[in-house]
Subunit: 234 residues, 2 copies
DNA sequence: GCCGTTCCTTGATGCGCATCAAACCCTTCC
DNA sequence: GGAAGGGTTTGATGCGCATCAAGGAACGGC
């Protein structure tokens, strides 16, 4: 039953959160870590569940979403390889306010609350990294809030595509959407239908090409100019 | 020119961030702190400015908002006595993404980045409090995102009123809006006009009474039942 | 191959909310 | 007191986006 703990340390040491920690620290953390496997469609936790630690994705993909009363949901984030989630709620004595569902068969590491708290008290560098991680997330969320309030659906889609392109390894100007379009639409505060129409519209104007989940941007500069809609950007 | 530093320590020791710290720690922090006075309407910092520390409000009121290209803005938060802001951006090497403007004549304390970093390295308790603060803010923002995406304008207003009422000291069922209705409207992702109409509508249904910024809720239970709009809550 | 499912698109319709515009406060200042 | 100027309300109009409803396309299983 004992997990291959060597592997865990190796994986941890490649994450920004744990990079350049000593072997001793890594051992301590690894001992408070357990592997979690979950298959596509499975629910890792639901809104209202208590929180016992945070998660990191070794491989796979997890969707964080706020469920609505009527069965709908708002996708807050789509998380992929090497990223972590659930830290913030760990430091508040509150249940989850989002649910986490696997979009692909995934392998996660769960680091227990006690381990984190312990390490926090010992190592100020670790605290600094936790703080940096939380700050970055807050920063992104504020940007999201701004885009929801100040940009049109079309602008949000263009912004998203440009962002994706910029992070994508591989052929310049071309990339694959990370998951189903309906999920991405919700992430952008749009319905699936409206998202589909916007993509169609952009394609009709020659700004992008879409084949399934494959998106090509023939002229990034031209698309970027459309970022602020019909108005010249300030 | 030397500020009355005794006062600063006393004020600090009453804030959650610094409560129960020793005199030595308080002295160190106070020495990295300076008073900032700003009058109503003044701009504390603008989007794009570099960040040199974080702020706490001794008295007054500050509005954090994301400016739009067309001169509009989205109010992210309205901050009052004893609260702090600007921590997160301090830990990222990025300029502000929001602007801060005084809604009333205010007295702030500015704690320098160096002081915070220094204390962070020394005192794990301080780190824990910073982390708790960031986590709480993240939590609130996620809730906001959910309400923007999943609730109608009317529901957001009702939620806001109930929240305000619950925090308000004084007569039960009655409170004063913290600032101009236009600002609150933007905070709730509404136009001033629409916000006004919603208040009028709620008043017409006898759920609230409004006189200027004075709001009275005759029956809180009844208003709460309207929180999820026309549908029974789950 | 065929079938069922899930995902995506396309069309028709309508609501929620923004926008534009004007009137009506309620202060504050001379 | 009157004038000037924010702040707020109210009305008319219209757009962006959701909703409802089908149809098509892609995928996986037998």
């Amino acid at each position: 039953m004992s997990p291959p703990s060597i592997k865990v340390q190796n994986f941890l040491s490649n994450l920004p959160l744990f990079k350049a920690l000593g072997a001793q620290e890594l051992d301590r953390i690894a001992s408070g870590t357990r592997e979690v496997r979950i298959e596509r469609g499975g629910t890792l936790f639901a809104k209202g569940d208590p929180c016992s630690g945070f998660y990191m994705i070794v491989y796979g993909q997890i969707k964080l979403a706020i469920p609505a009363a009527d069965g709908g949901e708002k996708v807050v984030e789509i998380i992929g390889d090497g990223q972590s989630f659930g830290e913030a709620i760990m430091f508040l004595e509150k249940p989850y306010i989002v649910s986490a569902q696997a979009l692909a068969d995934s392998l996660l590491l769960h680091v227990s609350k006690a381990t984190v708290f312990d390490e926090l008290a010992r190592d100020p560098r670790f605290a600094r990294r936790i703080i940096a991680g939380l700050s970055a997330r807050l920063h992104h969320l504020v940007r999201d809030v701004g885009s929801y309030a100040l940009q049109s659906g079309r602008e949000r889609v263009v912004g998203y595509l440009l962002h994706r392109e910029s992070e994508r390894n591989g052929t310049a100007g071309s990339f694959t959407l990370p998951t189903k379009k309906g999920i991405i639409a919700s992430r952008l505060n749009l319905t699936q239908e409206h998202f589909s129409r916007i993509l169609h519209e952009l394609a009709a104007e020659g700004l992008i090409e879409v084949h399934g989940r494959e998106v090509t941007i023939p002229d990034i500069g031209r698309l970027r100019r459309h970022d602020s809609g019909h108005q010249p950007q300030s």
